[in-house]
Assembly symmetry: C2
Homo-oligomer: 211 residues x 2
DNA sequence: CCGGGCATCGATCAAAAGGTGGAGACGCCC
DNA sequence: GGGCGTCTCCACCTTTTGATCGATGCCCGG
């Protein structure tokens, strides 16, 4: 298992970040950067071609496929490399899809170089490294009753978060106001709040909706 | 003016980003990286010590002083170096304070290496480089009537954004509901909306309030 | 010293939102 | 087939919010 260096693929749309990861990892013994990808699609291609042990994957790409989707595509194949998420910010909305997609680890870009190198070795061995902040939130998530909204409820809440009235929401979704109010009542119960603005605040905090 | 290479200070709390900027810029002729700073405070110290032409400044640091404050501190001194903001995301809330603080340019980290190098040269000459996305938003900002809220209005809106009712806001600020409603009416007029949730959405979009 | 912006409060009235307690239709799974 | 969750809708009522008039005191700059 230790007869070759760990072969690494760097996937990030920022040239500066790619150069930085390369600079940090190339000084470590036992690592080889075999390729870089500036898009998620390209990362999936390169990973599928083989010859890679660990993929360092950003979550945000300029457009097209995002990092979680790429991770799912990569890990779906037999003999796939491990995927280590290396991103700047962590919210529930980012972390959960990535982990569900089969990421082996989740690091933040402010990690010191030693931690990054250690995480790559851990990932190559198939074990998990989580940034402390991410681990904390995941634990809280498991403790809290899982309050996931249905697809329709999320649609309604997203429009409400844009400042639309019940009337406008009902028009946009081709519903009656009664239905919108019904959805909102369920949303309030699930989120433990009692007004639309509080629901938006809670959902933003939980990463259920964006912006 | 061209008798020495451009002396650069890199200020960013991410080791990876520092390494990346260094890797990108060191390959360019006429550039010398004279120092790195992992905190905004350290950047101010190093810049004050002299011997620097251009500071590459991130806006977000882990804690303490942020990049805009550091920029203000650096540019306040006579003979100060130019400050070029190099950050990941751009919102009004980030851009405006940095520019008011005296930044010479504003780039995003997804800029290609050539653009970064060109911006450093431009900054060293005292002229401005703006990322296209930033330039766009600044133009829109100038066209739109500048709707800045008063301190009190911002306080009220911040609490409203946390989901509090008028009653709760009035308690928290030791006011009557009448006063809160009066502030809200002014806020709606300034933001061009007609409900609290829409005001929160608009204020988040404009960077007037956070999270 | 006067005007204007700011912050504070009051009273009404109309509209919107929220609370309660339903109900029917659909799909899914055991 | 029966239960469960989701999505849809209705009626009635209370509370909250917003709109529109006000008013007062304070401070600051021309």
């Amino acid at each position: 298992m230790n007869d070759h260096p760990i072969r690494i693929l760097i996937a990030d749309d920022h040239p500066v970040v790619r150069a930085g990861l390369r600079a940090v990892l190339e000084t470590e013994p036992g690592f080889t950067i075999v390729a870089e990808a500036a898009t998620a699609e390209r990362a999936v291609e390169l990973a599928a071609a083989g010859g890679t042990d660990v993929v360092l994957m950003d979550l945000q790409f300029g457009g097209g496929m995002n990092g979680s989707q790429a991770t799912a595509a990569i890990t779906a194949r037999p003999g796939a490399p491990r995927v280590l998420i290396v991103t700047t910010y962590d919210t529930d909305a980012d972390t959960l899809p990535a982990i569900e997609a089969g990421a082996t680890g989740y690091l933040l870009k402010d990690a010191p170089p030693e931690e990054l190198a250690a995480a790559v070795r851990t990932a190559a061995a198939g074990r998990t490294t989580l940034a402390p902040a991410v681990a904390d939130r995941l634990m809280n998530r498991l403790r809290a009753p899982h309050s996931s909204l249905t697809r329709r409820e999320t649609e309604v809440l997203t429009l409400v978060a844009e400042g639309l009235s019940n009337q406008r929401v009902s028009e946009r979704l081709h519903l009656t106001q009664a239905t919108v109010k019904s959805h909102l009542a369920h949303i309030y119960a699930k989120l433990g709040v009692d007004s639309r603005t509080a629901a938006v605040a809670a959902a933003l905090g939980l990463g259920i909706i964006r912006r």
